[in-house]
């Protein structure tokens, strides 16, 4: 219940923060929302020698669009993401996800960046980022480098982020006409990780059939999963019930869930099938002008 002690720094600039991380050579952790990290420290599952608190660094929390991208500052609180009208009107997948991450109070402190880069297979945003083909902008001693969400997650709690780097911004390409997005999280209760979570982006073309689709899966593998076969299958399809059913089956095939208290493997795979179908349907409805 009580963690061991640690050094604590509250730098006022990114350069200072990165310098501190670099100096501590992997023994320091970034403290943003802390909602995952502090819990692990209390149970002594994580025992960093130092915490670099980045909450005092200015200009890391924002939600805005430029000509090409939605840009979200990594320190944006999840609750803020949930309240944003811009997000609700143009990227409702994030509104869906933000309403289901942890619980309301935790969302006041947890950050978009933290949920994206912590690396817990139960985090909800990675699948959304994968579905939207997001880019993570990461800053280290040598400057800023871009990483694609679809290549970011390597294993449970192992990502492409180096110990001396800070995630500073997430960029999502602006949606083309006919885009619809949605996220569904099957959970046992408020505050749980997903039994299965499905993130979908579709583009409905002028003809009414699907120009493209991208499906991300939460908590049914060691990392969030890009269900590429299911996504590819939907391209060019009319989006009939049978198409959606097939997409669900392909997504289930891509899932590699482990059996746990939420259920056995066959059940979880079937939930991926069901919720993929339901979420694709919702994304298509939104693309066509529904809510």
């Amino acid at each position: 219940m009580y963690p061991p002690n640690f050094e604590y720094y509250a730098p006022k600039s990114l350069d200072e923060a990165i310098g501190l991380l670099d100096q501590h050579q992997g023994e320091a952790k970034v403290l943003a929302g802390g909602q995952s990290l502090i819990g692990m420290m209390k149970l002594r599952l994580a025992q960093p020698a130092a915490l670099v608190d980045i909450n005092g660094i200015p200009n890391l929390a924002y939600i805005r669009e430029d000509n090409d991208n939605l840009c979200i500052g990594a320190l944006t609180r999840t609750a803020e993401l949930g309240r944003s009208d811009l997000i609700r009107s143009r990227y409702p997948i994030f509104s869906d996800a933000a309403a289901e991450i942890a619980d309301p109070t935790v969302r006041n402190w947890g950050t978009v960046g933290g949920n994206a880069c912590h690396g817990d297979p139960g985090n909800d945003l990675p699948a959304c980022m994968i579905a939207l083909n997001a880019q993570y902008r990461v800053q280290g001693p040598k400057g800023v480098r871009p990483l694609l969400a679809r290549q970011f997650y390597q294993d449970s709690f192992v990502t492409a982020l180096q110990p001396n780097e800070v995630l500073i911004e997430i960029r999502v390409p602006r949606p083309v006409a006919g885009t619809g997005t949605a996220y569904s999280k099957m959970e046992r209760k408020v505050g749980d990780f997903a039994t299965a979570g499905v993130a979908v982006q579709v583009v409905v073309g002028k003809s009414g059939s699907l120009d493209g689709a991208a499906i991300g899966l939460t908590n049914v593998g060691p990392t969030a999963i890009f269900a590429s076969a299911a996504s590819e299958f939907l391209r060019g399809k009319a989006g009939t019930a049978s198409d959606l059913a097939k997409a669900g089956e392909l997504a289930a095939d891509a899932a590699q869930p482990i059996a746990d208290n939420r259920g056995p493997v066959d059940f979880k795979k079937d939930m991926v099938r069901v919720w993929t179908r339901r979420t694709v349907a919702r994304a298509i409805a939104r693309a066509k002008g529904g809510k």
């Binding site: 619980d103 099957m186 208290n261």
Partner: protein, 781 residues
């Protein structure tokens, strides 16, 4: 004639609670709020193994941690003969092990430090070497020949604890054989954990005179004091247990946990006050669980649907010692209320208990001593029988209920039910939920392949333990007490032997006394929990407070009224025979405006009482209830099941309860709402499981699922009132009824929804994957 004014805050009034004043300001006084000069902190090292020999335990690194003052081990306690202690069921339990640990999470050593952070550092630094031993997790396997024997310390040759039976084995066998229809069901009710938001804890202090004071999260302070005296040898009048504000008990704060004993030892040896506050992990893994009953039940009926006989065989998984807090003559508690609301001519129940490598306990979750297990069994089987006979389950119950004129009713298993009107409660519930319309809707939905279910539970509860002839805990008879004193200015202090953990006693006892004494409730202060001042009692659990101390309060008040009447007569210059207690006043018979109030009499009790009479105005009553009381009710639940995901949504739940005379309707409703939630959660989401190595699978709230306001249904409540004929003011007790009665209603509803799949049982909790499995087996997509 004008109608009499009710006394302010008397029985039946929903007055807001008096105790709220401190809680809403954050000024409650819970154990962790107790702060004493020089206080030290105790934290516990716990075993990662379910069964292992301790081959080495090294304190050095821990003692070197800044702030750590002492490490207490089983060897240290053994030197003082305190390594083992008795349980409430006369078994033995380790305070700390000297050589073998018996369950994952078991306390292995205590670390005492200057603050709780240092204590945590110390715990992390204690080094323990274990040699794992074969683990016994399955109670059936535990009883097979050749299973590893767990309690070799007791000289046992097997893992069987006790066998208990009641009823008529032969007659029941005969009746079942002769029944036109017999159904049989295996029901497993898994372990659950009460998880009150406040965990357990204590502060132990020995003062300069050698008096031990322990602030403790306990529902039964006097019994604890006596047990401490017997175990430690300290004189009982030099032990004071203070049960301050308790953040939820529900039975989990009845047992004596090792942490309490270690804290007392630490206080005695360091000379400083020592605080122990259990963390949630320790709470879930080591402190008292509930349920874990493997039940096989058979029920017979005639072909036109009259119940004939009931036979039940149960295997109880008790963990490594029998520490269930049951009355001593009833190792399976009041499980034999299992004939329920029905007049079975014959029944037979047998229970066997087994040791396993799990924590001890069994009773702690709002269950009235195994009544939840009993009611679940009977109401599940009755529903199954109704469906088997293709009779509507409500109609089936109405056909079979014990009729109102049969009370007091002697059950086939020996209980004498005081009063009941089962049909009245069920009919009211049916009306409130719109039963016929729901069945119609169900038929339409079923035709479309949608899964909607309706389930009923018509329970009879058994509370108020209990009459001294049958009820004791460790020999201490289960009476309870009230001591009432009226001051000259008409204000009252009453102390009782029970102990509220949120049930509102500071208000409800004041209401009883207001009614009985004719003084407003806000003139009456209620105190519980300090063994130096409160009269002896057995505490609050098993819904016993209103039936026992509530009765004692009334009886004490009536003793006061007897004396007060004589003072009134003296003041009114009439003979005591001319005085009657009417409209909350002492009135001269036939002359209503010649009267005295209790307040006037109180003043006179100190200033103007008859010659030869003792002054003062007080009484104490130790109430030995003549019988238990039998609250009852009918619950009806309507659910919708998502065919693809197995998720269950409780659409409606109507609870009609009858707890006899109601003291405070709002408080009673609060008890029902909370109790229903504690029946709902185990039905759908709460469960403690172990893997084959005895590792617990739910040791935090991430996995042990307590419902939030989002999952919890919107309970609808109703009442009927059938007074208890033997209780001084007709009340019965209600704290646990809803937890006892609701699981069967919910499970019956889900199984009803799954009727197309022909299953008669799914063991709780009905997690989505279990429901899905049933659907999927028949209906793969």
């Amino acid at each position: 004639m004008a109608k009499a004014e009710p006394i302010a805050g008397g029985i039946g009034q929903s007055i807001p609670r008096k105790e709220d004043a401190r809680f809403i300001r954050g000024k409650g006084n819970y154990v962790d709020d107790v702060d004493l000069p020089g206080m030290l902190f105790l934290d516990l090292v716990r075993s990662p193994y379910a069964h292992a020999k301790i081959t080495a335990l090294r304190k050095e690194k821990a003692l070197a941690v800044p702030g750590v003052l002492a490490v207490i081990t089983g060897a240290d306690l053994a030197a003082a003969k305190l390594a083992w202690m008795p349980t409430l069921m006369s078994d033995t339990q380790m305070v700390l092990p000297t050589d073998t640990v018996m369950f994952q999470g078991q306390e292995v050593a205590g670390v005492v430090a200057t603050d709780r952070y240092a204590a945590a550092d110390g715990v992390a630094a204690v080094e323990v070497d274990y040699e794992p031993l074969p683990v016994v997790v399955d109670p059936f396997k535990a009883l097979e020949p050749g299973a590893p024997v767990l309690r070799t310390d007791k000289g046992k040759k097997d893992n069987h604890i006790w066998h208990w039976e009641v009823g008529d084995r032969e007659a029941t066998e005969k009746a079942l054989k002769g029944s036109a229809v017999v159904i049989k069901e295996k029901l497993y009710i898994p372990r659950i954990h009460v998880s009150s938001i406040e965990t357990c804890g204590c502060v132990a202090q020995v003062d300069v005179m050698g008096k031990l004071t322990v602030w403790m999260t306990t529902q039964a302070p006097h019994a604890i004091r006596t047990v401490f005296a017997l175990v430690s040898g300290l004189p009982e009048n030099q032990i004071r247990i203070i049960s301050p504000d308790i953040g939820g008990g529900f039975g989990g704060k009845v047992p004596v946990y090792p942490g309490y004993v270690i804290a007392v030892v630490a206080a005695l040896t360091t000379g400083h006050p020592v605080k122990w506050i259990e963390d949630r992990t320790g709470n879930l893994t080591a402190d008292s669980f509930a349920r874990d009953y493997h039940i096989e039940a058979e029920m017979g009926a005639t072909k036109d649907g009259k119940l004939t006989a009931l036979r039940v065989k149960t295997l109880a998984d008790h963990g490594y010692t029998d520490a269930a807090a049951n009355p001593s003559k009833f190792p399976a508690g009041l499980f034999h209320i299992i004939t329920g609301s029905y007049p079975f001519a014959t029944a037979f129940v047998e229970v066997d208990a087994a040791y396993t490598n799990k924590p001890p306990g069994g009773i702690a979750y709002r269950c009235s001593f195994r009544v939840t297990e009993a009611v679940y069994t009977i109401e599940r089987l009755v529903e199954n029988m109704a469906h088997q006979l293709k009779i509507d389950p409500a109609e089936f119950r109405l056909k079979n209920f014990i009729p109102p004129e049969a009370f007091p009713f002697k059950s086939a298993l020996g209980w004498t039910y005081d009063s009941g009107n089962y049909a009245g409660a069920l009919k009211k519930a049916m009306e409130m939920i719109g039963y016929d319309a729901l069945r119609k809707e169900q038929a339409e939905k079923r035709a479309r392949g949608e899964l909607m279910g309706i389930g009923i539970s018509s329970f009879t509860e058994i509370v108020g333990a209990g009459p001294s002839k049958q009820f004791d805990i460790l020999g201490l008879k289960m009476f309870d007490s009230a001591e009432v004193r009226i001051h000259p200015t008409g204000k009252v202090i009453a102390r009782l032997g029970t102990k509220s953990q949120g049930q509102g006693h500071e208000t409800t006892y004041a209401q009883i006394l207001a009614e009985e004494l004719g003084l407003p409730a806000d003139a009456i202060s209620i105190e519980e929990g300090d063994t130096d001042t409160a009269p002896y009692g057995l505490g609050t659990y098993a819904s016993r407070s209103t039936p026992t101390s509530g009765a004692a309060a009334a009886m004490a008040a009536r003793k006061i009224r007897e004396k007060a009447a004589k003072i009134a007569a003296h003041l009114l210059e009439v003979s005591p025979d001319d005085i009657e207690w009417k409209d909350h006043k002492f009135q001269v018979k036939g002359v209503p405006d010649k009267s005295k109030t209790m307040a006037e009499v109180a003043f006179a009790a100190y200033t103007n009482f008859p010659q030869g009479m003792e002054g003062g105005l007080e009484a104490v009553d130790y109430y030995d209830p003549p019988n238990l009381t039998y609250p009852f009710g009918s619950y009806i639940c309507a659910v919708d099941v998502d065919k693809e995901t197995g998720q269950v949504k409780v659409r409606r739940f109507v609870a009609v309860d009858d707890c006899g005379v109601i003291i405070n309707p709002t408080i009673v409703d609060g008890q029902i709402h909370g109790g229903l939630t504690m029946g709902f959660a185990p039905s759908l989401m709460e469960e403690i499981q172990y893997d084959e190595q005895g590792n617990i699978k739910q040791n935090s709230f991430l996995e042990y699922l307590l419902p939030t306001a989002v999952e919890t249904p919107k309970w609808e409540t109703g009442k009927t009132t059938t007074p208890s004929p033997h209780h001084p003011f007709g009340a019965k007790g209600v704290g646990e009824s809803a937890t006892v009665g609701s699981p069967a209603a919910i499970v019956n509803a889900v199984l009803d929804a799954l009727q197309p799949y022909g299953v008669t049982n799914i063991d709780i909790p009905l997690s989505p994957h279990k429901v899905w499995k049933v659907i999927h087996a028949k209906d793969p997509h």
